[in-house]
Subunit: 483 residues, 2 copies
């Protein structure tokens, strides 16, 4: 099913490493991570040992040892005549623990950047339950969303200066549900789509699944250099641009007023649809003054949002605010995707969006305290890491002193801490990606303290070049599911 990976492509994905340990072990670890987080799809055929050695500029002996190590741990299967096929080591007994880090284990997961349910949520479920009979008297199919919720969401946009009719709101299964649906509707195979140099990886991946060819913006001082955009769109027609202008995931950056104006102008001039992810806009931890919504700069905007970061991801409620002519195509695509989102959670969200904001405020307060705690623990125990304080969002975007992100993540997994390697957030491979790490401040403060202790151990292991003796697959092959 999956394609053959060329040696230059794999070398590109592997990037450069500053590892001081054995090269074969470092390479094996990094290939394992690529497989686990899906950048090398399960079932892919790897290039020959000889070709990979050439592409990486290492000896043939090294790549032979790399493949031998991967075979020993069950990740690589070599078949006569069909090359070396990557296989995630999945057995009935460990599949579940691979997929979601089992809460009964001691492992701390810092891959999902999303909160546990805030205190007010149980009350909102109760209030929604009182309205359940009305819903049960219908077939329950809501491909466009619960009318009452669509009205509340539209009114919020109107109140914030973006006049919106309820019919422009399509309720989806989270922001990701909206993005994948928009991919189906906006993107024809081969269309080009602009993405930031770093991004929330599932968004560009779902656009690629819809057939898009991505144009990555350069990674620089700002994710939104207007001149870089102008240069990119000069060369080729683009269909859409997916951006996260407010507390950008993963960097935490906020698009300035000038950048918004310049981007809106350039996108409109080139007939490119802005798909604007505002799912972090309300996770404004320090109450900073944000420029107006990108939607106010360009009325062709598609805005996607969700309650996953502000309230709870387990609700699986998001939405798209779209120009009128996109509503029906989205709903028709929805019928072929999953017929709609559960109505009960839409009742719950309708409660939470009209209660006055105290549940969201409590969630922000907890996040703020967690952020400050994690920053303080890092400053004390891991001063080698540069960790700027983001004004909003739910994760830190830290800089490591050398290119070691994937090695650090592999080592941390052996110490009971799952992290997402920095390169996962880059939309095109650049060597600097190995100097970054996203650290969600999501588990509770005790867990964050312990996480930093384990990160310190992993850091020492990686920088000391000491090889771990614990190679148990249980602790290493945790599937990388991030949110």
């Amino acid at each position: 099913m999956a394609p053959t990976l060329s040696a230059p492509r794999l070398a590109n994905l592997l990037g450069q490493s500053d590892s001081t340990g054995p090269a074969y072990r470092d390479l094996a670890d990094r290939i394992r991570l690529l497989v686990i987080d899906g950048r090398v799809p399960d079932g892919s055929r790897l290039p020959s040992e000889r070709a990979l050695a050439v592409a990486l500029g290492v000896s043939r002996t090294t790549t032979t040892r790399v493949y031998a190590e991967l075979r020993d741990t069950g990740l690589l299967h070599s078949r006569q005549g069909s090359g070396s096929i990557v296989r995630l080591p999945l057995s009935a007994s460990n599949a579940s623990s691979l997929i979601v880090s089992a809460p009964e284990t001691d492992t701390i997961a810092m891959t999902f950047s999303a909160p546990i349910g805030p205190p007010g949520l149980a009350r909102a479920f109760e209030a929604a339950a009182a309205k359940l009979p009305g819903l049960l008297a219908t077939t329950g199919y809501l491909p466009d969303g619960l009318p009452a919720l669509r009205e509340i969401i539209a009114q919020r946009y109107t109140d914030r200066g973006l006049p919106t009719d309820p019919s422009q709101i399509v309720v989806t299964s989270g922001a990701q549900g909206a993005i994948s649906l928009l991919g189906r509707v906006l993107v024809q195979p081969g269309n080009r789509v602009i993405v930031e140099g770093t991004s929330w990886p599932h968004a560009p991946e779902s656009l690629v699944a819809a057939g898009a060819r991505l144009t990555s913006m350069p990674v620089g001082e700002t994710p939104w250099d207007p001149e870089a955009l102008a240069a990119a769109v000069r060369g080729a027609a683009h269909q859409a641009a997916y951006i996260i202008p407010d507390f950008h995931n993963p960097t935490g950056a906020v698009m300035t007023d000038e950048e918004r104006g310049a981007w809106a102008h350039e996108l409109r001039r080139n007939d490119i649809v802005p798909v604007v992810d505002e799912s972090l806009r309300d996770v404004n931890l320090d109450g900073i003054e944000l420029p107006p919504s990108f939607g106010t700069y360009d009325d062709r905007c598609v805005i996607v949002d969700s309650t996953s970061k502000t309230l709870w991801g387990g609700l699986r409620i998001g939405w798209a605010r779209v120009p009128h002519e996109l509503v029906l195509p989205l709903v028709q695509a929805r019928m072929n995707q999953d017929l709609g989102t559960a109505g009960f959670e839409q009742l719950v969200v309708a409660e939470l969006l009209t209660e006055g904001g105290q549940t969201a405020a409590a969630g922000r307060a907890r996040l703020r305290a967690n952020r400050d705690h994690l920053l303080s623990e890092l400053a004390t125990s891991l001063p080698e890491i540069i960790a700027p304080c983001p004004g909003g969002g739910s994760s830190l975007w830290v800089t490591l002193p050398e290119r070691m992100s994937s090695r650090l993540v592999a080592s941390a997994a052996r110490h009971g801490l799952t992290l997402t390697p920095g390169p996962r957030f880059f939309t095109s491979p650049v060597p600097a990606s190995e100097r970054h790490l996203r650290l969600p401040f999501m588990p509770n403060q005790d867990a964050l303290t312990e996480a930093v202790v384990r990160m310190r151990r992993a850091y020492d292991e990686v920088t000391g070049g000491s090889a771990s003796t614990d190679n148990s697959p249980d602790s290493r092959d945790t599937l990388e599911l991030i949110a």
Copy 2:
């Protein structure tokens, strides 16, 4: 965005008509239906009046009047130099009523073949609420499903003779959520997929959206003629086959033991993955003895199922039971689709699947009474329609005395009854499709009685050739969303 429709293709979609009324009105009505139900995508460019006249074998004057009528009702927009573009007439004021038939109107919807919530459901919601705190203490992301629910589902398969490990179950947003996800994982663009000659339309449509080329089985005495399958796969390699062997939607047919054996053998011999939709298997209204699950004939089977027909579609809970090697690819695809299904409804379904089956039994009893009531009303008031009694499922598949299905549906909409035209359920256009209609026995018995009264009026209008004077767009342009 949408493609140009060639005149032969449109003529093919329109099929033949036995209309005795004005040809232009009949053609305009049928084109409108094609647009509303999505077979002609919103934004498509229609062929020229001249080309369509040639393809249909009618006069140029007729097609000119057809396009004029479509323009008058706002469905067709003719632009200088860019031809005639189809546009669903969507305005802020009527979008909502287009999308879901508003409950406050008098219209009876017989498009969704799915029940309202059965009596035991509210109790299951309460029981699930007691378990909510455990869920709220997590991030709520369950890309593979709630472990407890996966265990219960796996045990049910094991109990029914199909030994299953919980890790083989991936919980999805309904059966359609499973089918669209499987399309992403199993189908590469250009792959061929076998489908029955009639089917649940959103399934083949989502496979086509994933790039599949469909091979339709012939429509005959049975949807599963083994010789037809053998002939179809002899000519070209196929990747998968999507079938509904138990109370087939829409025909109600049940695949015989012999057919199961023959199909399983032929599919295995040709390395074709069976994707088996069992979402109606438990809607066994007369308690007839079914052959064993198709899964027992071929262990390479992917089985999809859902609680939408047995319990309530508003839960949006379904699942896929897959061979081990498909689990991780499905979960990875899920992360790019919508990150998973809401956990609360999974708690509700876990309650309902372990309570002993009384809620599902109550739902079946209601369905059975509705089925018998609809059959009796039809026999009394519309004896021209041949309506066999299906042993299970949630709809009748009736035969009309002439090719009139689309005209009958258009007329019924003017009388306040929304139906789905027969051709919608055919996976390739055949003239006989206009002699069929799917009639869900879903609203309550009073509504079914009134529905048959309205259908009688529509039938008389169509067979009398009398043109309706009520052409209000409100009653005609109800978007065709079916389930």
